[in-house]
């Protein structure tokens, strides 16, 4: 009920294609994985988000031109202990968002180990996005934007700093992933955004917003 009721009305119901993708969120405990999902799916934010146990499943769609991209989102528990359950969630996932907290250097290191694990164990064509969350807490920043961007470039990751609290870049991140995912003909739409390097999404985001059903 929650996931279905939560899906926002689809602004382009005449969209001719519907593509479904499995997306998993990974990252250290309390970096804001659930908050990013809550912001994306319900447009809400709670200052204190209950810790996720096991994993939570939600769905949300975005529109890209004539295609509705439906995300099946697995939001996982961050505590190291739950690590051994993670492969069940990223197995078969077409996309992953690896989240860290820009105010905590350790969470960035942990994000890197998640990226490595995904590169080794997940589907070879998985689209990986790196999200530096809590960007609203810039005064407490411990991870430089440039450092994360360089790391993302080296590893062909999408990268954005986000804030689930202010909603900054949250929809844009999911949109960027949707754009990069192969639609009906594999790889035809991923085009230049391909896998050779990270993409600067900041310039594209405004444009995306206007043509899509995000709010």
């Amino acid at each position: 009920m929650t996931s279905r009721g939560a899906a926002r009305p689809n602004g382009q119901s005449q969209a001719s294609k519907i593509c479904q993708f499995k997306l998993v969120l990974l990252g250290e405990s309390a970096v804001g994985k659930s908050s990013l999902v809550l912001r994306f799916v319900k447009g809400q934010f709670h200052e204190y988000q209950e810790s996720t146990i096991g994993a939570a499943f939600l769905t949300q769609s975005v529109c890209l031109d004539d295609t509705t991209v439906k995300f099946e989102i697995w939001d996982t528990a961050g505590q190291e202990r739950y690590h051994s359950l993670a492969p069940m969630y990223y197995r078969g996932a077409q996309a992953a968002i690896v989240v860290y907290d820009i105010t905590n250097q350790e969470t960035f290191a942990r994000a890197k180990t998640w990226v490595k694990e995904l590169q080794r164990q997940a589907s070879p064509s998985i689209v990986i996005a790196l999200a530096g969350n809590k960007a609203d807490l810039a005064s407490k920043r411990m991870v430089e934007y440039e450092e994360a961007q360089a790391y993302a470039d080296d590893n062909s990751l999408l990268f954005m700093e986000t804030s689930a609290k202010t909603a900054m870049n949250v929809n844009d991140l999911f949109l960027a992933i949707a754009k990069k995912l192969p639609k009906s003909e594999p790889q035809s739409t991923s085009g230049a955004a391909g896998r050779s390097r990270g993409v600067d999404l900041h310039e594209q985001s405004q444009q995306n917003k206007s043509q899509c059903c995000s709010n």
Partner: protein, 339 residues
């Protein structure tokens, strides 16, 4: 019941345990249920006070087991949990132990992990807010830190915060909560919370096997769509139905869990699945199935805790500990061989 005298407005928005009711809470049907349940509660309260005869002690017996299945009145709940779980005996045999644990030098990593979850444990419960007075976060912190030092093999696993939180809400006593947590994690449940979580993974597979035996069509559906049990039920096991089922129902389940042990979890899970078999079978794809498993834990069937508890002992049919142990053994071996 007595809490309902605190004022209707307050009682409407916040339940007797301090949980804020969601915006879409169905007050009318809850009132209808509760007025009927009140009759049961009153009858049980009289029976229990006769049983205890003011001496606040009981021995395990068929009669006590039957009484517990029909629900422990809230005013006796902490005491009965303490007695039947063995927590009371352990506490009496180890005077001062809990407080010594709190005075010990602390493991920084453990403390940090627990602190991270303080504001993230029941943010919807007014008693756990930083601004509450007394704020139950202090008790929660102490119980979890003490437990992590007491059981170093387990330390702290997310999920334990919710269980300890419930124990504190019911006992209103840190030391008792600590010993009840020890009864659950150390004796009643297999190793759900240790780093490898092997007991948890095993029990999820065991449930899968039991569903194959008792509700084969659902097992077949899960297999056809490649839905692993852990995806839909891990929280049921780790949090012992907290935040999955209504509070009152969870407490009734825990009454039996403390007396009868971990097989109660399978009874509840099987009842939920069997009762909603036709509904689950409507699912035609993977997300649908996940959605159905969320929905079957909501609504009248689970809110009506008294009839729900009757059903868990009849609906799934016979379920012997021998069967469960055998399944645990084979599932465990299978998991270990998979690496």
């Amino acid at each position: 019941m007595e809490r309902r005298e605190d004022g209707r407005d307050w009682a409407y928005r916040v339940d007797p345990y301090g949980f804020e009711r969601p915006d879409d809470f169905d007050y009318a049907s809850y009132e209808a249920f509760f007025s009927r349940y009140l009759v049961v509660l009153t009858r049980r309260a009289i029976k229990w006070s006769k049983l205890l005869k003011g001496n606040n002690n009981i021995q395990k017996s068929i009669k006590v087991k039957r009484y517990i299945r029909k629900g422990i009145p809230n005013e006796h709940r902490a005491l009965i949990w303490m007695i039947v779980s063995g927590a009371q005996t352990n506490m009496e045999q180890n005077p001062g132990y809990y407080h010594r644990l709190l005075e010990e030098e602390k493991n920084d990593k453990l403390v940090e992990a627990i602190k991270t979850d303080m504001n993230r444990t029941f943010p919807d419960n007014i008693k756990f807010r930083k601004t509450a007075d007394p704020c139950l976060q202090h008790a929660l912190y102490n119980v979890l830190v003490a437990y992590g030092h007491h059981n170093k093999a387990v330390g702290y696993c997310q999920g334990m915060n919710f269980i300890a939180g419930y124990l504190i809400l019911i006992t209103k006593n840190e030391e008792e909560s600590f010993w009840l947590l020890d009864a659950l994690i150390g004796r009643i449940l297999p190793d759900y919370y240790s780093p490898a979580m092997l007991g948890l993974k095993t029990d999820q597979e065991v449930l899968g096997e039991l569903v194959k035996m008792k509700v084969p069509a659902v097992a077949e559906l899960m297999e056809r769509h490649g839905v692993m049990w852990t995806l839909v039920v891990s929280r049921w096991f780790i949090c012992l139905f907290i935040d999955i089922l209504p509070v009152e129902t969870v407490l009734r389940i825990w009454d039996c869990l403390f007396y009868e042990g971990s097989k109660i979890i399978f009874r509840v899970a099987l009842t939920l699945i069997k009762q909603h078999q036709a509904f689950i079978l409507e699912a035609t794809n993977f997300p649908d199935i996940c959605d159905k498993f969320k929905q079957i834990t909501k609504g009248t069937f689970v809110t009506e805790c008294h009839s729900f508890m009757q059903k868990i002992f009849t609906d799934p049919g016979s379920l012997s500990m021998a069967t469960i142990n055998k399944l645990r053994e084979t599932c465990r071996e299978k998991l270990l061989s998979q690496g």
